[in-house]
């Protein structure tokens, strides 16, 4: 992602100029990352697609407000993270957050909503372990270990102190280490 900074700068310029192809390029470039965050956070593909679409529509509407101080990717992650956390915190979710029972059922079905994620037992366990993290720890792990953001980028995206990011990430990893014990060599 670091290597895309120059590309992002020109993409932002094109977006601001109203280049009709720029938004398409933006969606193509970031669709998987934004959708990935949404899916890891929400655990439901339909809901994740809806949220990812909303992220891009907000970017489309608010590109003029993007000051360019942060990376474009950080801005996108920030929007996606905030929307996810808001949705998880609100009662608007159409699907309840996965409890243990739901996850077990989900993991045992042949075709689950997150089928791609749960392709193997390890994947299933991993997905489940991540899903069971608290929202605030999960988003940090997702951004750091799955999306590869730096502590600083995570702090910027989530508007947190660096120490808070570091602390939450550590707690999340400790949780994961316990849950994934049997998969460790």
């Amino acid at each position: 992602m670091e290597g895309r900074t120059g590309d992002d700068a020109s993409l932002v310029d094109r977006l601001r100029r109203g280049d009709p192809r720029a938004f398409e390029d933006l969606v193509i470039a970031y669709q998987h990352r934004v959708f990935g965050v949404a899916l890891r956070m929400l655990g439901n593909r339909a809901e994740a697609e809806e949220l990812a679409q909303e992220v891009f529509l907000r970017v489309h509407r608010a590109i003029g407000e993007f000051r360019g101080e942060a990376k474009l990717s950080t801005w996108l992650y920030a929007i996606a993270s905030r929307l996810c956390l808001n949705r998880l915190a609100s009662g608007e979710r159409r699907m309840a957050r996965y409890g243990e029972e739901t996850l077990t059922r989900l993991a045992s079905r042949e075709i689950s909503p997150a089928e791609e994620v749960e392709r193997s037992e390890l994947e299933t366990a991993l997905h489940r372990a991540i899903t069971e993290l608290s929202d605030e720890r999960r988003i940090v792990v997702v951004l750091r270990d799955l999306e590869g953001l730096s502590y600083e980028e995570i702090a910027a995206a989530l508007e947190l102190e660096l120490g808070t990011v570091r602390s939450r990430l550590h707690r999340a990893r400790v949780d994961l280490r316990e849950k994934l014990e049997r998969f460790l060599p």
Partner: protein, 372 residues
């Protein structure tokens, strides 16, 4: 540094996020603590597991859906969306409704000539309903009751048959003598005296007995009033002429409107007199030669003036119906006095007669509908 303190730094250590001093302190502890080294390894393995998770890919078509959703929508579409959200569910229903309405309109439009035709034939109903009093006594009652729908149905059916095959109509007319007799009965009912004789000469095949005209008139009036009062009364008087009209309509099916009805009747008279149908079927019935509407300010005054005019011209008032729309007078006037009658009527009020037949009979029957 305790083991607990050391393990709290593992995450930052893996991410190279420790300050140099922190890193040195932790390295020193790890060098002396085998448990913490093993624990650090498991911690690294855990993070490696998580980072090796299968990448998530957005579903196919995601980009297109986003672009579609982000595309600026033209205002008519936005308006429609506002009216018919949500699209995927409601639009097909709206579209279906539009198609249904369009088909319905098309059907009604296609059917409208027939509707107009049947509207013109509507006055035929009174003829049928009063049929029992006019029909020959030998006609059995149940058959008469069944006749009504048959005749109505036959009227439309005949029309179509006529369009396809006009000669067959004459045969049909022969085949339905009872219905014809009723029409005859109506047509000849009001003809008194010399005028009636004259008519008989024109209609030699008439055979039905004539009940008292007054009784028949009363029944006719009742039947007329029971019909749609909004319908032009002239049209009701034309009821007996519906056969001729239908013949006419078969020739020219597209002439709509009641204003042409009187004209139609006049033409139909021409059409009927040389009709190919057998005399027994058609010649007995002779509709008025001229009919029209006389708009006056005072009906009673107009009636008196008309009576004077009639007597002055040597004409005769042959029938009178009082309808809710006003009285209807049938006058038999000698041909030489017809022009004078027309002038007199024009002086009484706004006289709008139908087109006259090209050849006027010696005695002309004129129907005047007096309105205010």
């Amino acid at each position: 540094m305790t083991c607990h303190d050391a393990r709290e730094q593992f995450s930052a250590l893996i991410d190279d996020a420790l300050a140099a001093a922190e890193r040195a302190e932790l390295d020193a502890h790890l060098a002396t603590c085998g448990d913490c080294r093993r624990e650090l390894q498991r911690f690294r393995d855990t993070v490696a597991l998580v980072r090796a998770a299968a990448p998530v890919r957005a579903p196919a078509g995601f980009v297109d859906r986003v672009l579609e959703a982000a595309r600026p929508v033209p205002w008519p579409q936005r308006l429609l969306r506002g009216l018919f959200v949500p699209w995927p569910v409601k639009l097909p229903m709206e579209a279906a409704a539009v198609v249904l309405v369009a088909v319905g309109v098309a059907l009604v439009y296609r059917g409208s000539p027939e509707l107009q035709q049947s509207a013109r034939q509507e006055p035929a109903a009174p003829v049928v309903t009063q049929a029992p009093s006019v029909a020959p006594p030998e006609a059995p009652a149940p058959a008469r009751e069944n006749d009504a729908p048959r005749i109505l149905y036959g009227a439309r059916g005949d029309e179509k048959a006529r369009e396809q095959d006009p000669p067959r109509e004459a045969e049909k007319a022969k085949a339905a003598p009872r219905a014809q007799e009723r029409v005859e009965g109506f047509a000849k009912a009001p003809e008194p005296g010399a005028l009636a004789d004259k008519k008989r000469a024109e209609a030699p095949a008439r055979s039905a007995p004539e009940p008292a005209p007054t009784a028949r008139d009363a029944e006719l009036q009742k039947a007329t009033e029971s019909q749609d009062r909004q319908a032009p009364v002239v049209g009701k008087l034309e009821a007996p002429a519906s056969r001729a009209e239908r013949q006419r309509a078969a020739k020219d099916d597209v002439r709509p409107g009641t204003t042409q009805q009187t004209e139609l009747r006049a033409d139909s008279l021409k059409a009927q007199r040389p009709a190919s149908a057998p005399p027994s079927a058609t010649s007995a019935f002779v509709p008025p030669d001229v009919s029209g509407q006389l708009a006056v300010s005072d009906r009673e005054l107009a009636l008196r003036s008309l009576a004077e005019l009639v007597s002055r011209l040597g004409a005769a008032q042959t029938r009178r119906f009082d309808t809710s729309d006003g009285p209807i007078i049938e006058i038999a006037v000698p041909r030489q006095a017809y022009a004078e009658l027309n002038r007199g009527l024009a002086q009484l009020g706004r006289w709008q007669p139908s087109k006259e037949p090209s050849t006027l009979p010696a005695t002309i029957r004129v129907v005047v509908r007096i309105t205010s």
